[in-house]
């Protein structure tokens, strides 16, 4: 039996089946050997694609049914007595759970539909909170409705190990902090301990998707917290600093992915952290290279510097940058002797130190210096990430690097040539550049990834 944490997909097993047949025909292996090779991957073969389709259909059904119930109430609102409404709300929650439990665990003949019914129960429970608030005209602090919703269904994740409910929880966590921070302009510190709990649940049921979605929510928390903190003290200049915050957050997440990559037990989560971290880092660094967002720290009236750091910025930025630096050092020191860890560690450390320096230097820089630094940093990290992805055989790095390389070129093309060239020439030249660039990139990307596969096999 093969551990499923190794990156082998059912698709790969199907290909193997056909290859083994050919080997057998060519006399490379005999029938017993063929049987031994194939039986090694039996546990991967059991995952049938049809089952996943059933799950997806059942979940969509549950969402539609839940939405229908909410709308039915909204429309038939005062036609029913309060008591009847309450009874229907509670009754529908209990029936959905009971039926789900019966089909999944008791009878065990319709586990997928049963799990979808349990998911429906969690949706109906949330709907119940809002309906009861409506019935009794409760209007105090509405984000609490979402808070009690996802807190209430966490036990279901624990008991049933349900991925769909965990995804629901992690999306509700993000929704809650967005409502709380936009509606009431606070930092919502309670988000952090709850985030830790919900990330823990992702490890508990070993879901990369749920963990990735939960991590992505941190970007919302950081952006909103940053804007709230700069409100009233340095609103315009604050925008760029919020970008800087998300960059360092993304970098922290990426570095934590690498850290986990070194640990046998957690290495399966590396990819979620890498994708979310790099996406946040590159996206906001890319935004920071646009002239519109670059702040002017000198007031219009003279040369007096005019910028105040917010407390929230200093605390979160400091902690995130320290965390990333620490992870970088750890990867560097613990992975001694291994050149791929050395490369990872050095990259993490260098970027962390540059980000820390930027936060201190920023208010003293002129607009031009700013743009130069942001553009240089973006370009340098893109190139480094592509090169490192090639040497460390990590396709995700190469793909991220190439996507942002293309975006960067398009953006700079617009920046520099929009005013200079006649529009027709601008578009024609741009089109040719893109087509040509796309052709070259596609050919080279395929080549690189193919070479990586070959190298992997040699290893």
């Amino acid at each position: 039996m093969v551990e499923s944490t190794k990156k082998l997909s059912p698709k790969w097993v199907n290909q193997l089946d056909q290859e083994v047949k050919v080997w057998q025909q060519e006399g490379i292996i005999n029938e017993t050997q063929a049987g031994a090779i194939l039986s090694r991957y039996n546990n991967l073969r059991q995952k049938d694609e049809g089952g996943r389709l059933v799950t997806i259909l059942a979940i969509i059904g549950a969402i539609l049914l839940g939405a229908g119930v909410i709308m039915f109430f909204a429309a038939n609102w005062q036609a029913m007595a309060k008591g009847l409404k309450v009874a229907i709300v509670l009754g529908s929650v209990i029936i959905a759970y009971a039926a789900g439990y019966y089909l999944t665990f008791e009878k065990q003949n319709y586990p997928r539909v049963g799990r979808a019914l349990i998911f429906l129960g969690t949706v109906l429970y949330g709907a119940g909170i809002w309906l009861i608030a409506q019935i009794f005209h409760i209007s105090s602090h509405y984000p609490n409705g979402v808070l009690f919703w996802f807190l209430g269904i966490i036990p279901v994740v624990l008991v049933c190990r349900s991925l769909s409910v965990l995804i629901e929880v992690s999306l509700l966590l993000t929704l809650w902090t967005v409502l709380e921070q936009t509606g009431f302009e606070n930092y919502n510190w309670l988000y952090l301990p709850l985030l830790a709990v919900i990330l823990g649940l992702g490890y508990y049921i070993k879901s990369r998707v749920a963990t990735g979605l939960t991590l992505a929510g941190t970007v919302f928390w950081m952006v909103l917290g940053g804007f709230v903190s700069f409100k009233g003290i340095s609103e315009i200049q604050g925008i760029w600093f919020v970008f800087l915050l998300v960059m360092v957050l993304g970098w922290l997440i990426y570095s934590m992915g690498n850290l986990q990559g070194m640990m046998e037990k957690f290495s399966f989560m590396k990819i979620s952290f890498q994708i979310v971290g790099l996406l946040a880092f590159f996206l906001f660094l890319f935004l920071a290279t646009f002239e519109w967002f670059v702040p002017d720290f000198y007031s219009y009236y003279g040369t007096e510097r005019n910028f105040n750091y917010s407390g929230f910025f200093m605390v979160t930025y400091g902690l995130a940058a320290l965390g990333a630096t620490g992870s970088g050092l750890w990867v560097l020191l613990k992975g001694k002797g291994d050149s791929s860890y050395r490369r990872e560690g050095l990259l993490i450390l260098t970027v962390s130190i540059i980000l820390m320096g930027l936060a201190f230097l920023a208010p003293w820089l002129s607009k031009g210096e700013y743009l130069a630094i942001a553009n240089l940093l973006l370009f340098a990290v893109i190139v480094t990430v592509i090169v490192m992805g090639y040497y460390n055989k990590e396709a995700v790095l190469i793909n991220f690097g190439l996507v942002f390389f293309v975006l960067d070129i398009i953006a700079r093309y617009f920046d520099f040539f929009w005013d200079m060239l006649p529009k027709s020439v601008f578009f024609m030249a741009g089109g040719l550049l893109l087509l040509g660039g796309g052709f070259l990139l596609e050919r080279n990307r395929r080549k690189i990834i193919r070479e990586m596969r070959v190298m992997n096999h040699e290893v």
């Binding site: 409760i138 209007s139 008991v159």
Partner: protein, 175 residues
């Protein structure tokens, strides 16, 4: 982990949350003192947002020059108790305090929205400022510039619950 007991407990927790929500409001509605509050004229365009009426009470804005207050300054989100007294048909604010009254008199609990030092006016949110109505039902009332009176139940801990909405003295009922 598949045990029925744990699953039942998980579901039971959710039912308990819903029942507590209901129970708290039912308690306040049943055992609380009924007070009639006057609302300020509502701009008809603002009145119906989605399917609820936004109510702006006279006691939402309390002038600290006119009532007794236990503090010089109030912070955003601070919990306060507003003492109520009957003045003719309506109940009005008589005091603002960080503590519930110890003499058993009626006070409604709220959170400070903001405090304006210049005018000494404190704005308080009591969590009873939305009255949900059926979809599209509110349109009729929307065009009429009317004053709304609201019957609110206030229990001895200061919790409040909306019970009835009156427009021009008539109770609003949607059937």
């Amino acid at each position: 982990m598949r045990s029925k007991l744990w699953f039942t407990l998980a579901v039971g927790l959710q039912i308990a949350v819903l029942l507590i929500m209901i129970g708290m409001k039912l308690f306040t509605l049943t055992y609380g003192t009924k007070v009639l509050l006057q609302t300020l004229p509502v701009d008809p365009w603002d009145m119906f947002r989605g399917d609820y009426v936004t109510l702006n009470y006279v006691i939402t804005q309390v002038d600290l020059k006119k009532v007794t207050a236990d503090k010089k300054e109030y912070k955003h989100n601070e919990r306060v108790y507003v003492g109520l007294k009957k003045d003719g048909k309506y109940w009005v604010a008589k005091s603002v305090s960080g503590q519930p009254p110890d003499d058993g008199s009626l006070a409604i609990k709220g959170k400070v929205n903001y405090y304006d030092e210049m005018s000494k006016i404190i704005s308080i949110n009591y969590g009873i400022d939305s009255y949900y109505v059926p979809q599209h039902e509110g349109r009729k009332i929307e065009n009429a510039r009317v004053l709304a009176d609201v019957e609110v139940s206030v229990d001895r801990w200061g919790n409040s619950a909306l019970s009835k909405l009156f427009l021009e003295g008539k109770e609003v009922q949607f059937q």
